[in-house]
């Protein structure tokens, strides 16, 4: 490929606040560049994972190659790299950005600049990307494009007066966006004659081809037959196939050259050998130094995953290994629980990340999981002067061995319309928030700044925010550090036996309330048995709350009409099936759902 061709490549991504229409715009761009006919378009081509479609959010980075005929008569190759919009996925955003030269910033014409808009723009600017703003949803009656343009210039400080005003939903203004990409986003640099230097920005596992590695070629070229290696692990392979990303499928090509985005396969079986952020180079002619890679992200939320069927532990391990392949932020290590057997302690960026991984394990790998209460990482300072990170509440030493404990604190920014400042401040108060300041962005909108303990926001803080602000508040946070806190371990006893998988760490002031709710919730979850079952919450051996599951007293089939017994059989089979999904703890059977549902107990509305 010559320099002229390289000049007609554009590698870009789309960044936006959640719900500002990023995926819809991506679909339209694909549609207009004629990669697919309208008939072939699924509603949202990029979001091909089932979960994403259901939740309406984009989780996994993906890339698509498009061919665009610009107004100057030239044919451009656009590589669009999709990025997730949720705050939990900042890490994935950042690695996608590293494969791009520019970014389209989508801003909702009715909502204007939001907290995550800023966060993502700053990430893009950090990666030296040129940002092209686009005002979306101008078809809505409440659209205020001019104000939003001014807002972009005021708040972000990038030129926005010429920003295309579009409706991705209706498909208006899409040409302007495509044209702006050609004009405002620079072509990739890099020298095709230099030794190969390619950045891994993602990968997926395919049972036939092995690992499919997604790369951005910085310098040189990669082609089938070439021997390449990982700069990090030195593992080497022979390239089998190179190609680009068609919508929803891979399109093989002869070679990938500097500036291009695509994939290669090399019969790579060991998925640990190709981690995201690693640099690939040629064995015969290696590059002088590897690319800087990515900032490592530390998991902030931990929980235990256990296979519902204990025999499927190896399958769970394999599945986690494969997910880890394209989700470097996922952490896991084996652990055992008295109640649940063998499983894994897993670390996540946030609760949404946790739920997404859980759903992927259940759907893509067909695993039934039991999930334990998510918790954050506490620092335990022992009386002997040592400090350790506590990720599993069961490992908390005896109180006599603990000098003090620390918990992670975040700096939170909540953007909210002024009408809801009151309720939101109250919410932060309830979550042990420390008020810092209020900044008014305009007359109607304010940013509330709070310091909040991470463990107060990992469960349902987002939901609570949305419900108390009728959906108007948005939230962003970053880890501030650790602070000393009076923490206790709350144990749950079912029929007088402590269930280790239900223990969690809580601030001492919240222990009673949480213990009480936990008991109430478990009472709902645990089916009646032949005997009465006490459910108790205890701190340091002292019971602080109690509920009782009454003994089963009545469970009778209806009249069996006209000799039709098939319904009765089905009912009994269902009952029997339900029993199988229970975990036996002592003489009590607990449904697996109980282990996670008890976490969503904060907002009782």
């Amino acid at each position: 490929m010559d320099k002229k061709e390289q000049n007609r490549i554009r590698n870009f991504c789309i960044v936006a606040h959640i719900d500002h229409g990023k995926s819809t715009l991506a679909d339209r761009l694909i549609e207009r560049t004629g990669v697919l006919t309208s008939r072939e378009m699924k509603a949202q081509v990029l979001d091909n994972m089932e979960i994403e479609r259901e939740r309406g959010i984009t989780i996994k980075s993906q890339a698509v190659r498009m061919v665009y005929q610009a107004k100057n008569g030239e044919e451009y190759i656009y590589n669009m790299i999709d990025t997730p919009g949720h705050v939990d996925f900042g890490y994935e955003v950042s690695r996608s950005l590293a494969a791009c030269d520019g970014a389209i910033l989508v801003v909702d014409a009715t909502q204007g600049v939001e907290a995550q808009t800023l966060a993502n723009v700053y990430l893009a600017l950090d990666h030296d990307l040129d940002v092209v703003p686009v005002i979306n949803k101008i078809d809505l009656p409440s659209a205020r494009p001019q104000e939003v343009k001014d807002e972009i210039e005021d708040i972000i400080g990038i030129e926005a007066q010429d920003a295309p005003c579009i409706s991705a939903k209706l498909g208006t203004g899409i040409e302007d966006v495509l044209e702006a990409v050609a004009v405002h986003i620079p072509p990739p640099d890099g020298d095709p004659e230099e030794p190969l230097k390619a950045l891994i920005f993602d990968s997926v596992y395919d049972s036939y081809r092995g690992v499919i590695v997604f790369v951005r070629i910085r310098d040189g070229r990669i082609a089938p037959g070439m021997r390449v290696k990982s700069c990090a692990t030195q593992a080497a392979w022979e390239v089998v196939e190179t190609g680009t990303f068609g919508p929803g499928r891979f399109i093989p090509c002869e070679a990938l050259s500097a500036g291009e985005v695509g994939y290669f396969t090399a019969s790579i079986k060991n998925i640990q050998d190709t981690s995201v952020g690693d640099t690939i180079t040629e064995v015969a002619r290696p590059c002088a130094e590897a690319l800087p890679g990515y900032k490592k992200v530390m998991p902030m939320v931990y929980c235990g995953f256990y296979p519902a069927d204990t025999a499927r532990y190896p399958e769970l391990r394999d599945a986690l290994e494969k997910l880890k392949l394209n989700d470097a932020s996922l952490f896991y290590e084996p652990e055992t629980s008295q109640a649940l057997g063998f499983g894994f302690r897993c670390g996540f960026l946030g609760l949404l990340h946790l739920e997404v991984i859980q759903e992927r394990l259940e759907r893509e790998y067909d695993l039934d999981l039991v999930t334990t209460a998510p918790g954050v990482v506490y620092k335990v300072h022992k009386t002997d002067g040592t400090v350790f990170d506590l990720t599993n509440p069961s490992n908390l030493p005896d109180p006599s061995e603990i000098d003090y404990m620390e918990e992670p604190i975040v700096n939170g920014e909540i953007m909210v319309t002024t009408d809801y400042v009151g309720p939101i401040m109250q919410l932060c108060q309830e979550r042990r928030g420390k008020y810092l300041s209020t900044e008014y962005m305009e007359q109607t909108r304010a940013i509330l700044k709070y310091e909040l303990p991470l463990n107060e926001i990992i469960y349902d803080f987002f939901d609570a925010l949305k419900s108390r602000s009728r959906g108007y508040a948005s939230f962003d946070y970053e880890i501030k550090g650790y602070e000393t806190s009076e923490l206790v371990k709350l144990d749950i006893l079912i029929n007088k036996e402590t269930v280790d998988a239900l223990s969690f760490i809580v601030h001492k002031d919240g222990a009673y309330e949480r213990g009480k709710r936990m008991c109430e919730r478990l009472k709902e979850e645990i089916p009646r048995h032949l005997f009465e079952i006490p459910i108790q919450a205890a701190v340091g051996g002292k019971v602080i709350a109690r509920e009782t599951v009454k003994a089963m007293r009545k469970d009778v089939l209806a009249k069996c009409y006209g000799g039709d017994i098939s319904r009765k059989r089905k009912l009994l089979e269902k009952q029997k099936e339900g029993k199988k999904k229970m975990r036996q703890i002592g003489s009590v059977e607990i449904p697996q759902s109980a282990f996670l549902s008890v976490l969503k107990l904060d907002e009782g509305d």
Binding site: M552, R553, L557, K574
Partner: protein
């Protein structure tokens, strides 16, 4: 072989709010077409049943007493002509107050019906209204008296407990009112909230034990369901009042004076063969090895009634395991329980050998009693029979496969 005959008459004045059986209102012309189809079906099926002697017949619904009386005698005479009916056969018919006259009842009696089952459900008019029944207590009392006058000496009355708004006191009044009439048989069962019925919409799902109160509160127009404690008390009252009045419990929800147990119903629990005629009717044939039911689609039934193979669905040959399971969960409904002799005669093995662990566990829990002859539920076991019965299903995936 002995055989039972069930005939389904799917017509009703209107649907009760709790009902999820196959029933609907219809014009007289439709009823005529339906009865014609029934006769065609009976004639078509009869040649296969010539080795059997029919000793029970049951006309169920819907409301079999809704269609004009003239439809019933030809139906019964067709059954008599086409099949071998035992002279002492029990011939039952369901009947709802408000749909019959003395004349109609006499015609039924003359046609050979010798047992009536009257759906009362409650002796409180307010509760009848809540259920969406079409009759009052007075209508029922008239029907009952007319039935006696017409010569019926074997009458069942259906009662229901757990009706929205029902109290322990009102249920007791219903029980006492009914006992006072001295019917031969009483069927007392709990209202089950079924999905897809107006009650299901208002009180939550059949399985959701907690949903009811919240659902009712939301609705507002219907009274709440009785609490669990009240319903349990009603259960206990049923036992007490009926025992004192001389009725013996022979099945989970059935009580009779000595010698009046419903032979047709017992057939279901003992897994004796029966053939079902009519829309959606279920059959068990081949000495308990073959189950199927007729189509639920009316036009299809009407069009194909003369060709039984075209209207039968879900035809399955039951495996030994499936038959064992059925023998247990149906047989345990009878207070006497499952006969170990009958089990051994059918399967060549004692039920204790097959179900030893389950039986031991449930004996320990006070839910089952085993004697040399029978395995039966204890009174506590009867209250939570689902829980016990489910344990008699085998572990492997499809026991019926």
């Amino acid at each position: 072989m002995s055989l039972g005959v069930y005939v389904h008459i799917p017509f009703c004045v209107r649907k009760c709010l709790y009902c999820d059986f196959l029933s609907f209102p219809a014009e007289t012309s439709m009823m005529r077409t339906y009865f014609d189809a029934l006769l065609r079906e009976i004639r078509a099926v009869a040649p296969d049943l010539q080795h059997d002697t029919v000793d029970t017949v049951f006309l169920g619904g819907g409301t079999p007493s809704l269609p004009a009386a003239e439809f019933i005698p030809p139906l019964l005479s067709c059954i008599r002509t086409e099949l071998h009916i035992d002279p002492g056969a029990e011939i039952s018919m369901e009947c709802n107050p408000g749909t019959v006259t003395e004349e109609k009842l006499s015609l039924y009696h003359d046609a050979g019906i010798n047992r009536l089952s009257i759906g009362l459900q409650s002796a409180e008019d307010a509760e009848l209204a809540v259920l969406g029944r079409i009759h009052s207590l007075e209508d029922f009392l008239r029907t009952y008296a007319q039935a006696r006058t017409a010569g019926f000496d074997n009458i069942n009355i259906d009662l229901m407990r757990g009706i929205p708004g029902q109290t322990r006191a009102s249920f007791r009044r219903s029980l006492e009112q009914v006992c006072h009439l001295r019917p031969e048989h009483l069927s007392v069962y709990s209202l089950i909230i079924e999905d897809g019925t107006p009650f299901g919409d208002r009180y939550g799902t059949a399985q959701g034990r907690r949903a009811p109160e919240q659902g009712a509160a939301k609705q507002g127009t219907l009274p709440p369901l009785p609490s669990e404690e009240e319903e349990l008390a009603m259960s206990a009252d049923t036992e007490e009042v009926l025992a004192a009045a001389g009725y013996g419990r022979y099945e989970i929800s059935n009580y009779a004076r000595p010698g009046y147990a419903c032979q047709h119903n017992l057939r279901y629990w003992r897994r004796a063969d029966y053939i079902g005629f009519g829309l959606g009717a279920a059959s068990l044939l081949g000495n308990g090895t073959q189950r199927f039911h007729n189509t639920n689609v009316l036009p299809r039934y009407l069009a194909e009634a003369s060709d039984p193979s075209h209207i039968r669905e879900d035809n399955e040959t039951l495996s030994v395991r499936a038959r064992m399971e059925e023998t247990m969960f149906l047989g345990l409904r009878m207070t006497r329980g499952v006969s170990r002799t009958a089990f051994r005669a059918q399967f060549g093995v004692d039920l204790r050998e097959v179900y030893d662990a389950v039986i031991r566990q449930n004996e320990r829990d006070g839910l089952l009693t085993i004697t040399p002859e029978y395995l039966c539920l204890t009174p506590r076991g009867l209250d939570i029979s689902n829980y016990v019965m489910a344990q008699f299903l085998f572990d492997t995936e499809q026991a019926t496969a």
